[in-house]
Symmetry: C2
Subunit: 341 residues, 2 copies
DNA sequence: TATATTTGCTTAAACGTTTAAACAAATATA
DNA sequence: TATATTTGTTTAAACGTTTAAGCAAATATA
């Protein structure tokens, strides 16, 4: 069986004995085409099962109507929810998205960006890998004049649009909550400082401790890759301290889960002996025993806003120099792991 | 700031005073181009920061080098692992993938397929939504002569390539394991029967019970949407029975998690009072307390095989009528939730 | 030395669409 | 009646690449 060749505008034109141009215009409801012709064209198009060739129109129009997305991974509720909402907004405007995952690898992230540029995407929406410190690849995108929007994991140094939550404030909200529960020795298992959001969470943690006149103890502040495995390990480290903390604020839910497992295994009572707070409000935070208090990052909103910012750019034919830096207020979802009173 | 216009093959040709055709050939290492010219072309290409226009070459060559992927969702470890491995294999051969999510909605699934066809993908690799019973959209893809490969959730009726595990056998393995642990009243919270894989798991469950001379009790076989929430509910239903089961085999890990939570809340001892087995080996299965015994579906292998099958098709210019139906043997990962001896 | 082959390039058409410009016919305006 | 405008269409070029066919010069073969 040979491959069928697809029907083109030309085929429709031949059937009706009109020019391809007329067909194209009829299909786009051009005002200069008669109703009669439009009707006939659409009928024939349907009969022949015509599907427009996106490549050809993209080439001619100079835009692909594709938006590239780069995320560290898709199998986290946060990213998949961001993507889903982003997609919804973009689809409505005729854009499709190409999703790529970096798996937290800088190399893969660069490859992904190359791939996306090669595919002629009209814009890139990205959240950077944990590893990423060298921003030259992002400069490359910028230098091509392609709209670049970062979310969650971004960098202030790069002069690009950004959508995220206020990490500094989030730490304040968490510490405040723990203080209210009566905790006095609050530890922080944070992410790597070179990633802006994690640095902000650490700064917020430190400043919030000061604000509540709690002593800052170096032992209680640990940097972590924030995987489940590393969460266990860092928790073990905290338990080994002479003066154990009475609360642990973990900068990611997966690591918080690891910490929780360890505490459960050691039969340490949550929240009585140690209160636990995570970050990200992954669905499992509500499902584990005890359920984990966590920060909700408004993933849906972030996705929608990112898409909207891209669309703003896309509508202008010159690069918009006015930057959008959208900072959403995060929300603390209080659950059993930290509910003392 | 105006948009920069990208350098094309023509620009390179102008610099070197040769024809665009020569440049194209030089870039593709055509044997008829001299080493000297090739070197010069590549140097100039680099200097001008040339990036090939994928749309133009795709249009000319009649293929986009894009593969469309349709999954129910990306935020499950199974699907994201399948995708990641698929991507790796395809990238090596110069293909990129477009990921779309159906969110288990039939309507969204159809939209996604339309989108992919519109984007001129060279093939589609899909796993169907729970809801999907009408297969006409898949027929549409087939009728276009575009390679279509299904994995995990597929349909035997559709004459297409398929990669998945042996669900029927998996049920046997699970029941056998539970019988070995001494269980005598094994319940099954299954998926919807109209989805082939779930039907196979149910058939396997029934036949395995017969094989071990266990009575088949209608009360013990329940269909479910297999969400965490529904897992709780169906477990509750089982607990309400006059004669409770001593083991529950849940056809999905998320639902198994819901069941586990409920059992934990009711202080029912696992595995002593009720043994629990899930399906899918999601990472959390190992992380919860007690850890859940589950079936590993070899997601990496499925992803790689699906990609390979697509590549086989892509290499031929006619539709290959010989079908690949690859059935992998699943592996039971035994954990605390069912370890009695 | 005459002829064949190879090398290294050019020309031109093609992929399927869009769109500016042109144009004839119909209709409106003076 | 002569001129202007509107309507409905066609023509042709363009988007950036690839590729079959052609051709001149260099080299090999007889």
């Amino acid at each position: 069986m040979a491959k069928k060749k697809k029907t083109t505008i030309k085929d429709i034109a031949n059937v009706l004995n009109i020019s391809p141009a007329a067909v194209s215009k009829a299909l786009h409801d051009d005002s200069r085409i008669s109703k009669k012709t439009k009707k006939a064209v659409k009928q024939v198009a349907k009969n022949l099962n015509y599907q427009p060739n996106h490549l050809a129109s993209a080439l001619r129009k100079g835009k692909s109507n594709l938006v590239g997305v780069v995320v560290p991974r898709t199998n986290s509720n946060f990213f998949s929810s961001v993507i889903q909402n982003m997609e919804e907004v973009l689809n409505k405007e005729g854009y499709n998205i190409i999703i790529t995952q970096s798996n937290e690898s800088f190399k893969k992230e660069c490859d992904n960006i190359d791939t996306l540029l090669f595919t002629q995407v009209d814009g890139i929406i990205a959240s950077m890998a944990n590893e990423t410190v060298d921003l030259s690849y992002y400069e490359k995108v910028k230098s091509k004049g392609i709209p670049l929007i970062l979310f969650d994991r971004g960098e202030n140094d790069l002069n690009v649009d950004y959508i995220g939550i206020n990490d500094y404030d989030s730490s304040h909200i968490i510490v405040e909550h723990l203080v209210k529960q009566g905790c006095k020795r609050i530890a922080h298992i944070g992410g790597y400082r070179h990633t802006r959001i994690f640095n902000n969470r650490i700064r917020g943690y430190i400043d919030a401790l000061k604000k509540h006149n709690l002593p800052l103890d170096d032992e209680l502040l640990i940097e972590s890759s924030l995987t489940t495995e590393d969460g266990r390990e860092k928790m073990l480290q905290l338990l080994a301290l002479e003066k154990r903390p009475d609360a642990v604020y973990v900068a990611g839910d997966y690591a918080a889960l690891g910490a929780l497992q360890l505490l459960n295994e050691k039969d340490i009572k949550l929240p009585q002996e140690i209160a636990l707070v995570g970050f990200g409000n992954e669905p499992f935070a509500a499902m584990v025993k005890p359920s984990i208090t966590s920060i909700d990052q408004h993933s849906a909103e972030i996705g929608k806003q990112a898409a909207k910012v891209f669309l703003e750019h896309a509508k202008k034919d010159t690069i918009n120099q006015s930057l959008n830096k959208i900072i959403l207020k995060a929300e603390l979802v209080i659950r059993d792991s930290s509910r003392l009173k």
